[in-house]
Subunit: 416 residues, 2 copies
């Protein structure tokens, strides 16, 4: 379990866990916590059963807090303390988890000294995106075991936002539709060479080779993912078309007809966006096309500290103006941006449902804390997309003066 | 003619216009000028008929320079001197005007001391976007007389990029297709209230009312354009649906279902983008939609100094990251961006053709210099879009957490 969380240094608080009676001070702290979150329609039930906050008639859900130390941890550690306390079972959420989290995210802008205190404590730690640091971060998340992800991803193991032509299609159909949507957007043709930066378990590279006869060079620094992807390429008999490289994309060489990166930019610090653009610039033919698909933000904010610590070390979701830093220094022009925010909420709903259906297996392999950690991460991500804190930008680009660009986007929506 | 150009202070140069013999110094200057533009495939013919630069076999066009003072003006005044000298007939361009200008724009990044000198001199003058300053700038360009624009715009007087479903449709069809494309993108419904900032001669506002039954409040600070638009509203019998306000959009009040601004952002200085966003934020309902259509840039560069001085005072074309400054402070989320760069080149080709067909009337009303100024402006703009120096961004947005957003973009491309 070392890789999924740092042990807490809560000894000083643990001494207080003899459940002392709830006092005026505890209720004052709870009210301040709610005010600091903009007074969401989510009351807090304290360890003696008493409640603080809005009444049942307006409540969307309810936070149950196990003891004083947990209450104080929310003050001291903000969202990191909230996430960890939920993982440990010291916080329970009554009512629908996603709806309650969405209500928390949707509340008005927080105010007050407590917020300032919490915000200060919530600044993400400095994170260096050296290759060594990135390997460690990627290992932390992606090398939990392919079997674990297979329990709740689709059959092709696509761990990014799907594209649902209609909201009711299955996750498998939606992920395949996403792969095809990407291939259409870059107008992929047979025999073309594609560079992929951050290929996950290889689903897009394999699809491009299998369905479109493209020759793909795909980079990833996750050993387990690369091993899985290579095995798939052999199984599907397309080993000669796809090369999976266990290395950093900065080491890519050669020239390509297209560049794609789906769900990788979140792991690249903004300080490295220009360097990513340099790789794209030197890799792309004059009439090459590119696509970057990434979680984004409407406004620049640091990643939730709990997610950044416990789930995705070093992650950051950029605004569009920050994403543009990949392209603008290299005179690459944006052709098309599509926001698939609600598609990611839908994708995550499928993942969470499958995860819950397999929670017993996850618990048997890891433990209850791990189950609760991932439940909160998946449900919290749905809430973030529903509330608009997260967006999903799919961005198509070419050299600013390229004439090899489609006349309109109609071809994306007509059957071929 | 005072409003179309500032008289030149060239007395010191005019004394040299007795066409002195071309010497080694003149040829050296001409070679340096070409090098400073990245050695484009465009030779310079000097006033004695001798040529400098690439040979006829690679040449796309040719610059003919009338005298030494013009040559020196190119050094001293860069693109401003080039434009003015062309207007005055001191520079002629042999070969296709658009192709030659495109070749000049497409040449490699310029280098050398002369470039540095010219770039320093070419910085646009500081321009204050006060309401008074804006009125003056807008008057300069848009109040040349509606009759003048009617000579070369489409019948609905749309002076922004058209949308050509296929490259061969007429300008009239393409402008109507653009108006409909905009209405579809914001999913305009009957009875909805629309705020338009910068309405030109009113074509979009009139279309929204006439075809979709929308109630539109449209702002413009050009007196001639507003007068024309009001007359059209009466003629079309939709005066009760459209209100044309001769005022700055900052003075808009009330709440609207949609915000649109087509071809206005180019006249708003980046220092005022956040204030534009404030107007949008306070004007838009919770589930409101918005569209901004603007000429953009792949990289941040000042406007061509000749265009900024002689054609569009105070104009600036933003990069996408600069455009995002309108939205990001207000938590507005980008739903969709489409780049219509080649559609603007096509639109301008239609305008230039109509302009040339009516050049005699323009000359009779103004003078030859005016004809040459507008010819260079229209042809140069085509070259800027073809070479990628200009882009055209059509950006759709809503509040970051809005659920009143379309599920996919397919509805834009299916017949209704």
């Amino acid at each position: 379990m070392e890789s999924h969380g740092t042990p807490y240094d809560l000894e000083s608080l643990e001494t207080q866990t003899a459940r002392p009676r709830v006092g005026a001070f505890d209720r004052w702290i709870a009210r301040k916590l709610l005010a600091a979150r903009g007074n969401p329609p989510v009351p807090i039930r304290l360890w003696d059963g008493s409640e603080v906050g809005p009444g049942a008639e307006t409540a969307v859900g309810r936070l149950r807090i196990a003891d004083r130390s947990t209450l104080l941890r929310l003050v001291a550690q903000g969202e990191l303390g909230f996430g960890d306390a939920y993982s440990e079972g010291k916080i329970e959420i009554d009512g629908d988890l996603v709806q309650t989290l969405t209500a928390l995210f949707n509340a008005a802008e927080p105010k007050g000294w407590l917020t300032r205190l919490m915000t200060r404590r919530n600044r993400p730690r400095a994170h260096t995106h050296t290759l060594g640091g990135s390997r460690e971060s990627i290992h932390h998340h992606y090398d939990l075991g392919n079997d674990f992800y297979a329990l709740w991803l689709d059959a092709a193991m696509v761990y990014t936002c799907a594209y649902f032509p209609t909201p009711t299609v299955s996750l498998e159909e939606a992920q395949e539709a996403k792969l095809e949507h990407v291939c259409r957007k870059i107008r992929l043709r047979k025999g073309e060479r594609v560079l992929e930066a951050g290929c996950g378990w290889g689903a897009l590279a394999l699809y491009m080779a299998r369905r479109h006869g493209a020759r793909v060079t795909a980079f990833n620094i996750s050993r387990e993912q690369i091993a899985y992807a290579r095995e798939q390429a052999e199984r599907q008999g397309i080993g000669s078309l796809v090369e999976f490289v266990e290395d950093d994309y900065h080491n890519a060489h050669g020239r390509y007809d297209a560049f794609v990166s789906v769900g990788m930019l979140e792991h690249v610090g903004p300080e490295n966006y220009e360097a990513l653009g340099r790789v794209i610039d030197r890799s792309l033919h004059a009439d090459g096309r590119g696509l970057i698909h990434s979680i984004g933000r409407p406004q620049s904010v640091p990643m939730n500290r709990w997610i950044e610590r416990r789930i995705f070390p070093g992650s950051y979701c950029p605004t569009l103006s920050e994403m543009a830093r990949v392209l603008e220094p290299w005179n690459l022009g944006v052709l098309d941006i599509e926001n698939l925010r609600l598609h990611y909420a839908k994708t995550l709903e499928h993942w969470l449902e499958r995860f819950e259906n397999n929670a017993d297996q996850v618990r048997a392999r890891f433990d209850e804390r791990f189950v609760r950690t991932w439940r909160l991460y998946l449900a919290g991500s749905i809430a973030a997309f529903l509330s608009g804190s997260f967006q999903l930008f799919q961005l198509v680009f070419a050299r600013a003066g390229s004439h090899a660009v489609p006349w309109t986007r109609e071809y994306l929506y007509t059957q071929s």
